[in-house]
Every structure is written in C-alpha cells, then in structure tokens.
C-alpha cells in the first residue's frame, strides 16, 4: 500500500518568545506590567494582537511591555524615563526592523536622558545649598 499525502491542513498558535518563557513545554502566560494583559493579547487601545500591538523587551532590566503601554508611560514627564517595575532607567532591545513607533520610543527615552543630565548638572551647581533636598528628590 502506498500512502500519498496531498494536503495537510494544520493549526498552530503564535506566542511572543520571551526569554523567561522559552521552554520546550510551551508558553508561560506573562502579563504586561503596565496594563496587566498577556503579551499575546493587546494593550488597552488595540484590537488586534501581534503585529499591530508588538512588545518591547527591556535591555537595562528584564521587564517587558506592550510597546504602546511603555510608550504611554514614558510620555509622562513624571516617569523620568524609568522602568515602571524596577525604577531603573528603561532601555530596550532594538529589533532588526525598526518602525515609526519604535523611533518615537527612542526619542522619548533620549529626551528623558537629556532631562536627567540637565537636572544632574543643575544639582551639582546647587549642591552645597540644597544638598539635603537633592538627596530626597533622587530617592
């Protein structure tokens, strides 16, 4: 007997391949630290997951977010360019292909860096007068 397969219609599910969840058995449900929705879902403003609502992997720390979520976070002056989870300066692993949104993200991060540097310079000048206050603010 000869068995000739003509067409094999099959299904798979897609997942964000996160460093922490990359094990052979399957996927680990990980939630975006900002919106508390799975990375395989969407940020609150998107309808379609995946291509339309990508995620960003932190490089300074191990925290990952929906691109739109971290973008919104960093747009706030008060974020000071820090990761909302660990309060370290947020940087991310740049993918090979870039996009307008990623460029926006980069601009925001750069903006925060400039602000921080200016702030630091100013503080050094007024260090003697306001040393105690500065300590408080940095905390």
């Amino acid at each position: 007997m000869k068995v000739k397969i003509l067409e094999w219609k099959s299904f798979a599910t897609w997942h964000w391949d996160l460093a922490t969840s990359a094990d052979d058995s399957g996927y680990v449900e990980e939630l975006c630290g900002i919106c508390r929705v799975s990375f395989d879902g969407t940020c609150p403003n998107c309808k379609y997951p995946g291509d339309d609502c990508p995620i960003v992997l932190g490089s300074g720390c191990t925290h990952n977010f929906h691109l739109h979520c971290i973008l919104k976070w960093l747009e706030q002056e008060s974020s000071k360019g820090l990761c909302p989870m660990c309060r370290q300066i947020f940087t991310f692993k740049e993918p090979e292909q870039t996009s307008d949104v990623l460029i926006n993200l980069k601009t925001l991060i750069d903006g925060h860096r400039v602000m921080r540097e200016r702030f630091q310079q100013g503080n050094e000048q007024e260090f003697e007068a306001f040393g105690a206050d500065q300590d408080l603010q940095m905390a």
Binding site: L6, W8, F11, A12, W14, H15, E96
Partner: protein
C-alpha cells in the same frame, strides 16, 4: 270555577232592573240568546263542515239588546261564556294535531266565536277580555315542540312561493291569537342555531381562506329574508335584527376559533386568513380573555413540558408572536400568551445553542428558518409606524406591558438577561466552522448581521479569529497548509487537544514553516497543534487509488503502513505517534472500517491487500 252557561245562571248574575226595562220575559230572552250561541264548541270541525253561524233573528237581537246593554253585564256574561267554552275545549279539542292542522283549527275556532261575538254589540273592553281569554284557551293547546319543528323545516330554507304563502298564513294566524312573542323567540332561537350550525360547517378547521364573507352572505340571503318576512307581520323592529344576527355570527365564529386557537397558531402562516378574520371579530374583552386562556392552556398541555423539543418550543414561540400580532396588532394579547413560554424556555439549557444555530441556518427547511430570515431583515424596517401616534395603554394590558417589542429575535433574546451567552455560543459555533474550513466570506456576512443586532463591541474575539484564518493564506507551503491562531482569542476548549507526533515529512515542513515564521515575525514563535485540522490523502491499494479526507491522527496512523507489508501492533503505533494505546486502537479501527486495514489479532493490524501484491 266551572260554571256552565244556563238561563238560570245568567238570571242570577244579571240584575233584574236592567232587564226589566225590556218588558219581556227575561228567562225566556236569555234562553233565546243561549240557543243562538250554541253549540258552544263548533261541531264537525274535523271534516271541514263546521257548524254554520246563523244570523240572529229579530227576537234574538232584541234579547241581546235587552240584557247585554251595560258593560258590566257584558263582562259578566263574557266570563261565564268563556268558562263554558273552556269546559267544551277540554273534551272536544282534538289532541295530537299536526302543527298545520292546529293552525287550521285555530282559524276555524276564531272565525266561529268572533262571528257570534260581532252580533253581541260588546264594548271594546268586553270584547278584549273575551278575545284574550279565548286566545289563552287556544294557545294552551299549542305544542311548542311542533311549532319549532315546523319552523325549523321552513324558516331558513328556500322560500318557494307556495311555502311562502303557507308561511304568511301561519304567521298571521299565530299573530291573531297573540302568539307574536312566541313566534319571534322561536324564530330567533332557530336563527341562532342555524347560524351556529352553518358556522360549524363552514368554518371548522378552515383557516386558509377568508370565510367571513360567506358567513355574512348566508345571513343576508338565507336567514335575514325569513326574518324580515316574519317581522313584517309581527311589527317587530326588523332593521335592528340584521346587525344582531351578524354580531351573533361573529361571536359564534370567535367562539369556534377560541377552541381552535392553538392549532391555528401552529399552522401559521397558512392560517393567516383565519387570524385576520379573528382580528376583525374579536371585540369583547371577555372573549379576548377566553382566547388567551384557551391558548395558554393548550400550549401548556401540548408544548411546555419535558417531552417537547426545544426547537419545537422556539418554533411555536415564533408562530405565536406572528399570529397574535395579527389578532391584536398592539401586542397586548401577545404579551399575555407569550409569558408562560418565556418562563418555560428559561428552564431549558439548550435554548441559546438552538437559537444561535437557528439564526445562522439559511436552509429554508430549518424549523427555525424564520430566525435566519429575521436576522437578515434590515433593522430599520423593524421600527414600525407605531411610534407616530401615541395612544394610552390598552385596558387589558398587563402592568409591565411594553409596546412595540414585537421583533421575534429581540423577543427571544430578551428571555435572557445577558447577551454574553449568545456571543459565547456564536464564537464557539463560528470557531468550529473556521477550523473546519468553513466559508469565511459567509461567516463574515453573518457576523455583520449579528453585529447590527448585538452591537460591534461584543464580537472582538470573532473579528480576531476571522483575521487569523484570513491571514493563514500567507503560510501556504508544499503539502502543509498552516493557520496560525491568536490563542487568547479562541475558545480554549477548541485549542486543547492531545498532541501526537506527525509523520516525519510533515514535521520537516512544520519546522521549515516555523523558522520562516520566526524570521518574518521577530520575537515571536509558533506552537503546533497536531490534532487540529484535516488531511487529504490518496491510498494506492490493490491497484486502486482511493481518496480520503481524514483527521491528522488518522492520517498519521495510516502513514505507518506506507509501503509496508508487515503488520503493525497497537503498541508500535502508540509508541511511534506518542499516543495512548486506546487512541491508537481507535484510529486503527477507523481504517479497518474503511476496509483499508485488516485486524490480524486484537492488537495486530495489517494492510488489507490481496496476496498477489506481496
């Protein structure tokens, strides 16, 4: 008091002074009048040669004039005379006459006594007393049963000229002896029973054609002519009868329909003509109540019990809505009759799934096809012109009656407090169709309709599911056709399947696909669900080629026999595919049923090939 009329009696009751004036022999005069009046009951009535009435002689006239001068005397005379006639009636009136013989007898008797009376020069009052008493005597001999029988045969049939004259004769005779009321009531009763009988004949279980015209016609042509004939002689208000007859007929029709309402509703739409006529005739609130009670009783008895199929209940629910909106377009009656069904449907757990399947099944033979039709109907058309003019709530509306909620789907959906249950069911159903390779275009079109009913927001999952399937066109390779699903947006039960090892060739293709996907979508990966999907394959066996579309597991099982003439054990198969022996046996047996494999022992299988191929 039976006092026979004799001259002795008369002389006792009529005072002498009055008679004395005549100057004659009083006793003799009385005798003369009495002689002339006799016999007091006419003889030979039966052979039509009744006693001839002789004109009174001068002597008789003189005697009459003598002592029947005063009214008081006349009255007393009349009383005694009638008493005498009465006792004669007892013995001489022939019992057992047919009705027509009776009428004939009445005419002869009336003639006989009235002729005599004409000569007595009675005052109106005395004459009236006599006539009344005589009529009573004659009336008492009437058999009402025979009269009814007579009229039953004649009244509402064809009025040929002969029976027409006979009828007039009878009517005038009865009227002359003061039987007008009896005549009228007999006629009315007969008319009513005739109408009832006619309606039973014309209307019972006839729902597909209008019948009101023929009922009205029957009244105008068959019943009313007799009526007007009779009333023209009895001087009754004929004009008012016609509308009463129509009302009676309509009431009777309504009465019949009340007993038939449930079956009528179940045969909608063919019963539309009858429903429309019921709408026209149903005017009294009592009848409206009877109608709803009758319907609810039948519905409980025939439908709202554990033996009935949910689809049938929904089916009748829809027909009930459609029917009762014809009977009562304001929806008050519908509101009342549909409540028990709504309450009952809440106790059924398969209502949602049946409704969902019904709405999506475009096959006209579907029992719930109406739902599919309703779903495709434009929403605008549902808003009828009811809003244009405000009217107060109908008096028989229940307290929480809501006007204008007459859309079938809307009504059925509102049985449940939440729409979520429906959305879940739609998602499950469409998901299954999408996985099974259903027509995406068709599903999308249905989804558009559902969104117009339920709102856009509730169908996000389905939108994503459809997009997943649409995009799978991007991943078509040699042999393997992959669809990649967004796992969070598919019902999890659909994606949870036991895994197994696909044939090496397919695994290779999948690995190729996977690296392509990872390359295309940086940061993402895919996870195979081997058991989901379908496989088209060809088997060359005994010099024949057979095509199959099977499950991936069945395909993987038969692939173990490719170009292999050795047997395969259940254990081998299970190990190679990483599945349980039970699952392996099931898949192997599938191919045995298809006569592709043969069972050597309970655990050994071999290709079902002719010996020569070895």
């Amino acid at each position: 008091m039976n006092i026979e009329i004799t001259s002795k009696v008369i002389s006792q009751i009529i005072p002498r002074p009055g008679l004395y004036d005549l100057g004659g022999d009083l006793d003799n005069d009385i005798q003369i009048v009495l002689d002339w009046l006799s016999p007091y009951y006419p003889e030979n009535l039966n052979n039509n040669k009744p006693t001839k009435i002789v004109d009174p002689s001068v002597r008789v006239k003189k005697a009459i004039h003598g002592y029947l001068k005063h009214e008081s005397n006349q009255i007393e005379f009349v009383m005694v005379y009638i008493n005498t006639i009465s006792s004669q009636f007892e013995t001489k009136f022939v019992a057992d006459l047919s009705f027509l013989e009776y009428i004939h007898m009445v005419r002869q008797l009336s003639h006989y006594y009235n002729c005599h009376l004409d000569y007595l020069n009675l005052t109106n009052r005395s004459r009236m007393i006599f006539t009344r008493k005589l009529n009573l005597l004659i009336n008492s001999k009437l058999s009402h049963t025979k009269m009814e029988e007579y009229f039953a045969e004649r009244l509402f049939g064809d009025l040929s000229s002969q029976s027409h004259f006979e009828l007039i004769d009878v009517i005038t005779t009865l009227t002359s002896i003061n039987l007008t009321n009896e005549l009228n009531s007999t006629m009315i009763q007969l008319a009513i029973s005739t109408i009832k009988r006619n309606i039973k004949e014309i209307a019972t279980e006839k729902w597909t054609v209008p019948i009101l015209d023929s009922i009205n016609n029957c009244i105008t042509t068959q019943i009313y002519p007799t009526f007007s004939l009779v009333t023209s002689y009895t001087e009754s208000p004929a004009a008012s009868y016609l509308s009463s007859l129509n009302t009676t007929a309509h009431d009777e029709l309504v009465h019949l329909r009340i007993s038939e309402i449930y079956t009528m509703v179940s045969t909608y739409p063919s019963s539309i003509p009858a429903l429309e006529e019921l709408h026209l005739c149903l005017t009294s609130s009592t009848k409206r109540r009877q109608l709803t009670t009758s319907f609810i009783d039948s519905m409980r008895k025939h439908l709202l019990h554990s033996g009935a199929d949910t689809v049938d209940i929904i089916h009748i629910y829809i027909k009930t809505m459609q029917s009762f909106l014809i009977i009562d377009p304001r929806g008050v009656l519908l509101d009342q009759v549909i409540r028990p069904a709504r309450k009952y449907l809440r106790t059924r757990d398969d209502v949602v799934i049946k409704l969902v399947h019904g709405m999506l099944n475009n096959n006209p033979s579907s029992k719930l096809y109406e739902l599919a039709v309703e779903l495709t109907r434009k929403q605008e058309s549902i808003v009828r012109d009811e809003g244009l003019k405000w009217t107060p709530d109908p008096i028989d509306a229940l307290a929480d009656f809501k006007r204008g909620k007459h859309d079938v789907i809307e009504s059925l959906l509102s049985i449940f407090t939440s729409k979520e249950v429906f959305i879940d069911e739609f998602t499950r159903l469409f998901g299954k169709q999408l996985i099974e390779g259903g027509d995406v275009q068709d599903i999308e079109e249905k989804l558009v309709l559902l969104k117009s009913r339920f709102g856009n927001d509730l169908f996000t999952m389905l939108d994503i599911m459809i997009r997943d399937i649409r995009q799978s066109g991007l991943y078509q390779g040699d042999l393997l056709r992959m669809s990649v699903l967004s796992h969070l947006y598919w019902p999890s039960s659909m994606l949870e399947h036991d895994s197994f090892s696909v044939p090496d060739l397919i695994q290779q293709r999948f690995d190729e696909f996977k690296s392509q996907f990872i390359n295309d979508k940086p940061g993402r990966t895919v996870k195979h669900i081997p058991s989901l999907g379908s496989v088209t394959l060809e088997l060359e066996i005994n010099h024949e080629t057979k095509s199959f579309v099977v499950t991936p597991l069945q395909a993987a099982i038969i692939d173990l026999f490719n170009e292999k003439s050795d047997e395969v054990s259940v254990n081998d198969a299970a190990t190679k595919l990483s599945i349980s022996e039970y699952t392996a046996t099931q898949a192997l047996n599938f191919w045995v049923d298809e006569k592709v494999l043969m069972k050597l022992t309970s655990t050994l299988y071999i290709a079902n090939e002719d010996d020569e191929s070895f």
